[in-house]
């Protein structure tokens, strides 16, 4: 930046005006490009400033300006030692005391709890899948004429906009938050999520088989079944497996509000400040979710013959786990 403000103003003015009349074509083009670059830089700076203001505003709204959490910081550091209890192996190698985790996993019967979580996810997925298929097909314009197909798409959108946690709350009158209401919540969520994916899948199917079946004189339900549905059977199973992965994570979250399984264990340990036990439960959740993920992705890869399936490496699985978990919690 120039030390002389007059010179800066003069330069800026020159840049915005884009050069004088008498300049050569090259000079004019040069100053034109410089002007464009300046405008771009100014707008980028304005955008950055906007993001910073939004960020600060959001932190303030979230309560980061109060000092409470800073006061509690030492407590969190203390808790870390409980989350990861240290132990000296062979008298010299310091590491986390895995024995304590194992002890709790055995005592609390986490295998059984994991079974309940898995059962909720599985039952919910199987319950929702046929309805998702039905809504997905009825939402397609080739099956249901426009604008009637948007009724089905609309229903799926509404279902999707309500997180499964909220669906569980909606089903509370059926006897509180129980594995039953959790299953129903996941089933409902599956209709919205899987149905939408199938609607998209149906948009991309090949017209050839549909025309081939039509040419035989088949009636409309037959054309839909043999020409259209036959093309989405594999994607349907693949997406259902993907939704199952998400549903296992949702089932854990629903457990936290009391629906049973690993989530309940996690809440109990959290409320009694048993941080070592809590971490043991979290590790078990990681184990369960990653196992389901792996099975699901293997199945999908097999079904799609290795095309367009995201293949996560072990590293990606571990690093991306917190994000995938939090994504499902908010669903």
């Amino acid at each position: 930046m120039s030390a002389d403000p007059d010179s800066l103003v003069g330069r800026l003015r020159r840049r915005f005006s884009g050069g004088s009349q008498g300049d050569s074509a090259i000079k004019q083009q040069h100053s034109e490009l410089k002007r464009a670059r300046l405008v771009r830089r100014l707008s980028q700076s304005a955008l950055l400033a906007g993001i910073v203001i939004l960020f600060i505003g959001s932190l303030r709204a979230a309560g980061f300006w109060s000092t409470e959490w800073i006061e509690y910081w030492p407590q969190f550091v203390d808790a870390l030692a409980e989350y990861f209890p240290p132990k000296l192996y062979f008298g010299l190698i310091p590491f986390v005391d895995l024995g304590q985790y194992y002890q709790f996993m055995k005592e609390a019967g986490l295998v059984g709890e994991a079974g309940i979580t898995l059962a909720i996810a599985l039952a919910g997925t199987i319950m929702g899948a046929p309805l998702a298929l039905l809504f997905g097909i009825l939402g397609n314009e080739r099956v249901t004429p426009f604008p009637l197909n948007f009724v089905f798409r609309g229903v799926m959108s509404v279902i999707r906009s309500i997180p499964s946690l909220v669906w569980a709350l909606i089903y509370v009158p059926l006897g509180g938050i129980t594995p039953v209401t959790a299953t129903l919540a996941i089933g409902t969520d599956t209709v919205g999520e899987l149905g939408r994916l199938l609607t998209d899948e149906l948009e991309e199917i090949d017209d050839g088989p549909i025309e081939g079946i039509r040419s035989t004189g088949a009636n409309k339900p037959q054309v839909i079944t043999f020409g259209m549905i036959s093309q989405i059977v594999r994607p349907f199973i693949a997406w259902a497996m993907f939704i199952l992965e998400n549903n296992v994570r949702s089932a854990v979250s629903l457990g936290i509000i009391g629906a049973g399984g690993l989530g309940v264990t996690l809440t109990i340990e959290e409320q009694t400040f048993q941080f070592t036990n809590m971490m043991a439960t979290i590790l078990f959740i990681v184990l369960l979710v990653m196992s389901v993920e792996m099975i699901s992705q293997r199945t999908r890869a097999y079904l799609r013959e290795d095309d367009d399936v995201e293949q996560l490496s072990l590293y990606q699985r571990i690093v991306g786990f917190p994000k995938r978990m939090s994504d499902s919690v908010l669903k």
């Binding site: 088989p209 339900p221 079944t225």
Partner: protein, 266 residues
């Protein structure tokens, strides 16, 4: 059955795809529609099959007007249009859909006679041993023969084929056309196929209908299909190739296998 087309017209907005075309295909004969891309061959076949509605005009089978009667008309497509997820046998069985109820077809409970018909059709096209094979694992030529089998299972009065061998290599094209022709002859089926490979058309066709810009340029037998007629149908560029006997430049696949072949038999 004799196919009679009378004053058939098809317009898409301002574009006229077919303009007042009329011709007749005698019962049991193998007719070929010739013409450049965009001449109206596909539109004609799609109207005959009922996949497209004509703007005006009529189609008669043995003097009886047909409207939207797909089950009577078997269709073989250029891209086969088979159901990939099904086996050759199940694909052939879809030819029975027009006479099978929805639930029955869904549960795969076709009558025994229809099942035998599907296997017979596969035998006719030389694929009985491959009946249980998934169509995606078959070659293009085999898939097209499954397409023919499906059309036969419909027990059609009229058999149509829209560029049935355009996407096949020359030897597969020859095999498919041989099966196609033999089948049609054996069953005394009136057949109408659009072909742009003139050599294949001349080899297999009995009657020829030349279309240009949606109008009938020529109707006649093999003997009457002279180079000058072809010149009229295909225009100047191909005509030079016809005269010089050179290999045609147009090709439907990247390897150049399924070339137009216009020069080959002239």
């Amino acid at each position: 059955m004799t196919l009679t087309v009378e004053n058939l017209t098809k317009r898409y907005g301002d574009t006229t795809a077919l303009s007042e075309i009329s011709f007749e295909v005698p019962s049991g004969s193998f007719a070929v529609v010739l013409g450049e891309s965009g001449a109206g061959k596909s539109t004609l076949l799609r109207i005959l099959n009922g996949l497209t509605e004509p703007t005006s005009g009529s189609v008669y089978l043995d003097g009886q007007e047909i409207t939207n009667s797909r089950s009577d008309v078997g269709m073989v497509f250029q891209q086969h249009n088979l159901v990939d997820e099904l086996s050759a046998y199940d694909n052939a069985l879809t030819g029975t859909l027009n006479r099978t109820g929805f639930v029955r077809s869904l549960l795969n409970r076709q009558p025994l006679a229809d099942r035998e018909l599907a296997l017979e059709a596969l035998e006719t096209v030389g694929l009985l041993d491959e009946a249980g094979q998934k169509v995606t694992s078959m070659s293009g030529g085999q898939q097209q023969r499954v397409g023919i089998a499906r059309a036969l299972v419909q027990e059609p009065a009229l058999l149509l084929a829209d560029e049935p061998v355009a996407s096949l290599d020359p030897s597969s094209a020859e095999t498919v056309m041989t099966y196609f022709r033999e089948t049609a002859t054996k069953r005394d089926l009136t057949t109408l196929a659009s072909l742009h490979q003139v050599n294949i058309a001349r080899e297999f066709g009995e009657q020829f209908i030349g279309l240009k810009n949606g109008e009938v340029m020529f109707v006649g037998s093999r003997a009457e299909l002279t180079p000058s007629i072809l010149e009229e149908i295909y225009g100047d560029i191909q005509t030079e190739e016809l005269r010089e006997g050179t290999e045609p430049t147009e090709s439907t696949d990247p390897t150049g296998n399924a070339a137009t072949g216009i020069g080959a038999n002239t």
